[in-house]
Symmetry: none
Subunit: 217 residues, 4 copies
């Protein structure tokens, strides 16, 4: 190792050595199979937040979930404007190439992105100083109105309403992709909304008919 | 649970119950602290591929790394064109709000995104049918030329060269963000390139001076 | 391991390692005894269906049950025509060599074999394309008539009636074996009919006098 | 319960109650998904012997393996003679209906069926008194010759050679089914030979190229 040392890197390398001992060596056969290719059956779209790692919360095996993580677990709607559409590319890869059977959008409590969407505290800031976040969470603007109307812009109740609404926005936007809605209607693809409450560690699953999130027992 | 049952969901919920038993309950104090907020010191930008989960490879604790995952671990360059810039928003959040000290870009072997960049097999396809992936991995077009010149467009050698070059592209693009380059020059932020070789499970770290990736012992 | 890797094999091997850790090593004495020979007191005839494993449903110890599994838990009648009679051989082994005291025929809900017997959807297909299944479940033809007369050929009610009737067919066929009927009449062998309802996970036991299956409390 | 009581039944029911507590109730979601149908990716063909339960040795989840069990884990060759071909029907169901990806034939040590094939101690007995077993294990006659030539008909060495040869016979017979050999040649189906040594609890996997069985580490 001839790179600049740091406590951060040291910590990652120590973790990597544990992974070699516990996650790689005893699972040689799985890794040998994964060398040939991946066949995940689930795509998870989650927040970049350091407290809500899907691989940890769902205790998955390597190869089990294809994961997108960004601020607030957002999915922009299908749009063919020029530009680099990262979530759309990942979605296309998961659905068309890997043919996953299920897509889970997982929101979470204490989400900084959703809070900023609610308070609009970053509105008008420059790119690089908050402007990119502001532009990104504009995706929640439509849902925000109803939340603010019911709960105002402050307080945990309003924030949680915004977080739950965000999951529904991403689900709705997923369905604007023709390949998603077609596969869903043919029963080949299932969409799920989920919510991980950091305060008590409970996972909730959305019942889309009632619109309610209920804790998994 | 009144949502449509599936083996995929069942598997995630069973994993979640293991997490409750092993990852939440015995670590109540850590989660109580995380309830108040996150303070990750590292941002990791990794691929969505199901085989390269950073939380598993670095065996991190909850709260330790802020994670972006997309196809091929790409970072688009700083640009202020209209649109939803997901990676830029996450980067801004990590650097400006969370003040991480280190950003790790981790590429990996057998990367489907890098391979498609190399072969250009998806060029010209429609959005939703490969076009989103094609647009996204255009980010690698500059680096591709040199790879193709040296190794052609086929074979594991060419693919690996593309994968390693992709890490360098993302590092270079990170430095087009003024906030990143300024903090790096002041020694407040360290950028790292890393590569996880799926075939033998070895993590490599980039020495930017020599341009070489070397395995961590 | 120099065989072709696959996730299927990896999963089996990982399960085998759990078995070594939890099912073999802590039970060395039992396995040492089993090395000398088996003395199961029960034979179970069950369906090949992946959801109705008798060792799991009865949570048995190694060495406890001698198990035949085939499509629909069928027992052909005693017949001395030339050919390889697999169930007859196993029955002979259990009754004459191992001297089991009890034979349990366990049917189950959502049985694909019974459903095909009911609908006769595979009748006339070629061997290898459905014809083997069609020939096998001809064993249910006699019982089918009454079921169809009462319930028709479609719907869960008809299917369940076929599944329950199938258990009775296998019990009746067991009694065509002279060794079985003789031992039963001498009180040395007990036959049981059982039914595992996949929909609610309830085990039912047949009262042969009334002909009714009742759930075990 | 109004059926004749017995210690055997009592033991099964106690086990079933443990299954309800540990294998059903905490896994409600999995069972709800399995209610909709089974999707096993593996078929296992194993011996009826009470000591070699595949679900225990591979510690599988409900729904994971489709299982045939008969004396000595035999597969008769493809033949279209009249009669009830149980293994052929199960194979057809697994391959054509369920589309499993892998078939594992698992032999085992101390196999009574293989021993009888070797010694031919049951040759000439009447059906019901050993004759069914004798007819069934005639399937091993071809392989027996070579074993006897090398090792004689007595002793653990000869028995083990017969047991290992039996696995290869079943694999060869599997390949006489056109649907199996065609799918295997197209890379859609993998066949495996395995052997569970009761004496030391070690699972061996066959390398078909070398013809050797090696223990899984």
């Amino acid at each position: 190792m001839n790179t600049k040392p740091s406590l951060e890197l040291a910590s990652l390398i120590e973790g990597y050595r544990r992974f070699r001992a516990n996650g790689w060596n005893p699972r040689r056969e799985r890794w040998a199979a994964l060398r040939e290719g991946q066949e995940p059956r689930v795509m998870v779209i989650a927040c970049s937040d350091s407290r809500v790692d899907p691989a940890q919360i769902f205790d998955v095996d390597p190869g089990q979930i294809f994961v997108v993580r960004n601020v607030a677990a957002m999915v922009p709607p299908f749009e063919t404007s020029p530009g680099h559409h990262g979530v759309s590319a990942a979605l296309e890869f998961a659905v068309q190439v890997l043919r996953v059977r299920e897509i889970v959008v997982m929101g979470h409590g204490m989400c900084g992105g959703c809070k900023a969407a609610l308070t609009q505290e970053l509105a008008g800031t420059e790119p690089g100083k908050g402007g990119f976040i502001a532009d990104w969470i504009e995706l929640l603007d439509g849902a925000r109105e109803e939340v603010v109307h019911k709960h105002g812009t402050q307080g945990r109740e309003a924030e949680k309403a915004m977080e739950l609404a965000g999951v529904k926005v991403s689900l709705a936007n997923l369905r604007t992709f023709p390949c998603v809605s077609e596969l869903e209607s043919r029963g080949k693809l299932t969409l799920r909304g989920a919510f991980f409450a950091i305060s008590d560690g409970l996972l909730h699953v959305l019942d889309e008919e009632s619109g309610e999130f209920s804790p998994v027992e």
